[in-house]
Amino acid sequence: MNQGMLALYTLWLRELTRFFRQPSRVAGAIGTPLIFWFFLGSGLQGSFRMPSAENGLSEVSYLQYFLPGTILLVVLFTAIFSSISLIQDRNEGFLQSVLVSPAPAWAVVGGKVLGGTTMAVIQGILFIAAAPLAGMPLSFGMLAGFAFALFLNAFALSALGFALAWRFKSVQGFHAVMNLVLMPMWFLSGALFPPGGAPAWIRSAIQINPLSHGLALLRHALHGHLEAGSFLLSFSIVAGFGLFLIFYSQWAAASRRAGDVL
């Protein structure tokens, strides 16, 4: 095996081994969204009315509407936990050794991001088992489309987590980004409410938010309501966003630091 690929493989494997040895991480990434979904979803179920603009979704209950957004939250949480571990690992952990080893930067980024992606995909698939509870039958075709959308989202968000976390020296600093950037991106993705019923400025924010397009792919897989044109647009945006962040991360990780980071 090529040396870079060997390094990528071993770093990916390390992420997964760590993940399966910390059940609390799984509980944190799945449990919180599950509680959100079940309580918010059940509570708002009766008050929720789909705006007429959202064609094709009129038959959808709030629990069903909120499900793809909750899965996006699972993916986001997994990416965030993975990014936090990146900061800790670099300060006092194995990553210090990785950074002075001959492993190329792309292998370091790739191992971490694909590790995060794999964890998010596993959790997303576990979570979709909740769909029948909301009265959504699962089919094989639907699961295949869902797994593909899940992978794209997981990849893009893991890459986003890496790109953001790399700049931070402390976990505290990263918490601010999580609360001021990542969570608002999720709020403004159409996860909680349909854009159709929102004011114009929120609709614009949703339009330019890459997470909205990730969500659109998940929603398409679960509810099948997107027309082909916007599927292609959403796919291109999410894939492009992920690839851009991977290249950015690779560049950031490859440049030797002149000194302290944030």
Binding site: L6, A7, Y9, T17, G93, S97, P102, G259
Partner: protein
């Protein structure tokens, strides 16, 4: 002897602060070379530059015949690094830590397994190899770090304050291992430390203060340049006592971290003279040989522990 490391006028600054400020030195093959300095002296910055983490701001560093600014990838293959903060994955077993480490250096399969076994054996970790790294004591964790650092057979081992957090027994064991390693494998060792007794065990050492070289040489050379004999007085008010001694006697007096130090070979008559002159002001009087702390005081004008970080 040939140099493995040549540093010429190295400068590294963070914003306005010059952490490393014009250092030049050479390290020979097979040497144990210590970088001694208090916190903020620039030794950790120097370590990060040499371990290829930081790009040096200016100056020339030739490491194993390669230019550190350009050929750092080649250098990485030839050096082993042990960090001050533990670089173990605590959720992995001892053996898993070694296996992952080895793959980063292109080792794999049976070769890697055998090499890992060999290192586990050599560092006395074979019976703990299946334990989670997080369950080991501080001394054992250091041994795993050493095993990791040496797995790919580096020519040079860099260690940043390896004794931090170790009890005296584990510190002695670590140094015995390093000295044995140099003898049996010919590995050159560069170690930063703020323990003076440790630096005295190195073949040569450099003392850093505020990013500059205060002294450079073998421990013997450095110690001979000061003293060689001192009388040290432990006192509740060292500054006042030093002043009082200066005003009455012609001896060279300095205030140290512990008390007052007089350059004098010492004798019972001398002690009697002191006791008569300053009754009740001395808790303890010691006659001793010079230490690296005296070297530091002589070169910088202040005690080792008093250095302010800039």
């Amino acid at each position: 002897m040939n140099s493995i490391l040549e540093i010429k006028n190295l400068v590294h600054a963070f914003k306005t602060r010059r952490a490393v400020d014009g250092i030049s030195l050479n390290v020979q093959a097979g040497e144990i070379f210590a970088v001694l300095g208090p916190n903020g002296s620039g030794k950790t910055t120097l370590f990060r530059i040499l371990s290829t983490l930081f790009l040096p701001a200016s100056g020339m560093v030739t490491f194993l015949g390669l230019d550190l600014a350009k050929d750092y990838r080649e250098i990485r293959k030839k050096i082993g690094v042990v960090f001050q903060n533990p670089a173990l994955d605590l959720k992995l077993t001892v053996r898993e830590n070694l296996i992952h480490q080895g793959r980063l250096y292109g080792l794999c399969g049976k070769d890697l397994g055998l090499r890992a076994d060999e290192m586990l054996q050599r560092l006395g970790l074979a019976d703990r190899q299946k334990d989670m790294a997080g369950t080991l004591s501080g001394g054992l964790k250091r041994r795993v770090e050493l095993a990791k650092g040496l797995l790919h057979r580096p020519q040079v081992l860099l260690l940043d304050e390896p004794s931090t957090g170790l009890d005296p027994g584990a510190r002695a064991e670590l140094w015995n291992y390093l000295i044995g390693l140099r003898r049996t494998e010919g590995v050159s060792i560069l170690v930063t430390t703020h323990f003076m007794d440790e630096a005295e065990r190195a073949d040569r050492l450099v003392i850093l203060t505020q990013g500059k070289i205060a002294a450079l040489g073998t421990p013997k050379e450095l110690l001979q340049a000061v003293g060689p004999d001192f009388v040290e007085i432990i006192s509740a008010e060292p500054a006042a006592l030093a002043e009082a001694i200066r005003s009455r006697f012609a001896w060279r007096v300095a205030v140290t971290a512990r008390g007052v130090r007089i350059e004098h070979p010492g004798s019972p008559a001398f002690a009697a003279e002191l006791l008569a002159a300053f009754p009740g002001q001395m808790n303890q009087v010691t006659f001793r040989k010079a230490t690296l702390e005296d070297v530091f005081l002589a070169k910088t004008g202040h005690a080792f522990w008093e250095e302010k970080s800039v």
